[in-house]
Amino acid sequence: MRKACRELIHYLDVTVHMFKMAVMTVIEYPSNIAGWLISNPLQFIMGFAIIKFVVESFGEINGWNYGQLAFLYGLSVISHALSMIFFVQGWFMGYYVMEGDFDRYLTRPLGVMYQFFFTNINIVGITDLIPGVLVFIYGCVKSGVTVNLLFIVQIIVTLIGATLIRGGIYILLGSTSFHTRSAVDFGQYTQEIMDKTTMYPMSMYPESMQFILTYLIPIGWISFYPAASFLGINSRYAGMMIPFITLAVGVLVMLAAGAYFNMGLRKYESAGN
């Protein structure tokens, strides 16, 4: 027990240092920060504007009005930002495998998965967070949800779960590189698919696709089911428990991703020197 405690404290200590280092690496390229500061908010402001244009051209989307869509969009962007901060490396795992960068992690006395994600912590993801929070607050006001303590707790639980789901999916996709030894830029693709499935109400898609997105690739739990239940919109699942289901789904996806990552890593080892 004490040993486990000491290890945990050691990891936390390392994490603090990694965080500091990550901040410094970001500051190293000033033009890059400027780029991110423009790029990320711009992307979401434009994305949000496009939803407005679509609503203006087509009217309500599957019974969701503009305020409710803003709520959904905000919720989706916030969890996207959080997953960018902690798990974006999953997108580039193929390149690490191809260049043999995992060798470095394997020689160090810390968990490989921990090192992989925390040595590369992506501070600039915060620039995604700001527009997300703004749109979300706007959505809360527009759709008139009652903000109380319970709501805040539910939102936080939802966000943790949603971030884990996204992160888990990135890791699962990235870990395929261990087996295929090639790098597909999954990031772009997953981003595009997730944009369409988490930022618009999932109920607009046919039953079969909703089934897949609920049970097989649980993207629906990231923002659709939570938003629907917060806003009181009819959907397959609704109620107070939804945030906790999201969290549970997130933990499950993450566990599966971890197992798959470690399986791949064993393969990587045996292939190495």
């Binding site: 920060i33 244009f53 597909v184 898609y205």
Partner: protein, 263 residues
């Protein structure tokens, strides 16, 4: 010229080695295409024409946009950044071959390989699962091909110009992302800009982005008439000339900069 053809050939062979990439790309792009098709079907449900276009044409737009996006993949910005970051740029510039020509040839090689690896399968899947993308008016086919070719050049030049920023900024990951988002959202590749408010689409029409995706696709689905196409293609061509000028200017600037600093 022969040297560049050789680069094209090597790149084709290189692209063929990573088999999994091909399947991965096809699967992912198919999912995106089908999701988009459902997206538009849901939006158009119970509505006839929106923005002068009906649901059927929009589905053609989706399939063709997926195909076009494969042909508009560029790697030049990443290549420039890598050679600047690793410092190989100095020796690259000393070689008796234009380095930007090599990058262009590489992208051409890559796309040639993709034509068979991705475009054909996606076209097949799209035709089976969504609809066969038939051109609205066969007489406009030549216009479509020409404008698609010019849009390829514009797209490549924009990528190369963004890449050249690496010579002064070194790390341009963020800028590459900026470009990607600008392109995705302002070119009409996902949501055509005719759904935007009139004022905004007017502004966007004066930027080069819409001439990358939306113009060739509009010609394909027949939104507009011949005179409109021709006048838009004229603007597209003007952008090509402007970007070419900017490209050659920037090229001479960055090469001089590296040589003066004594690579």
């Amino acid at each position: 010229m022969k040297k560049y053809l050789y680069v094209v050939k090597t790149q084709i062979i290189k692209s063929l080695t990573y088999e999994f990439n091909v399947y991965g790309n096809i699967v992912m792009q198919t999912i995106i295409m089908i999701t988009s098709a459902y997206f538009w079907r849901a939006l158009y449900q119970g509505r006839g024409m929106v923005g002068d276009v009906d649901a059927d044409s929009m589905l053609t737009y989706v399939v063709m946009s997926s195909l076009l996006s494969v042909l508009l993949i560029t790697n030049v910005e990443r290549r420039i950044q890598m050679s600047v970051e690793k410092g190989t740029v100095a020796t690259d510039l000393m070689k008796p071959i234009n380095i930007f020509g090599v990058y262009f040839a590489e992208d051409i090689g890559n796309i040639t390989a993709l034509l068979f690896q991705n475009v054909l399968p996606i076209l097949l899947i799209g035709s089976l699962m969504i609809k066969i993308p038939v051109i609205a008016d066969i007489r406009d086919l030549s216009l479509f091909v020409i404008s698609a070719f010019v849009s390829f050049l514009i797209n490549w030049l924009i990528a190369a110009l963004f890449g050249m920023i690496a010579f002064s900024a070194v790390n341009i990951n963020a800028l590459i992302q900026v470009k990607k988002h600008l392109l995705r959202l302002l070119s009409g590749s996902i949501i055509p800009i005719w759904f935007f408010p009139a004022g905004i689409s007017k502004i966007l029409e004066s930027l080069p982005f819409v001439y990358i995706y939306q113009l060739p696709l509009s010609i394909y689905i027949g939104r507009g008439d011949r005179t409109q196409y021709l006048s838009q293609m004229r603007i597209q061509f003007v952008w090509l000339v402007i970007l070419l000028g900017a490209f050659f200017f920037a090229q001479s600037r960055v090469t001089r900069k590296v040589l003066v600093q004594g690579g």
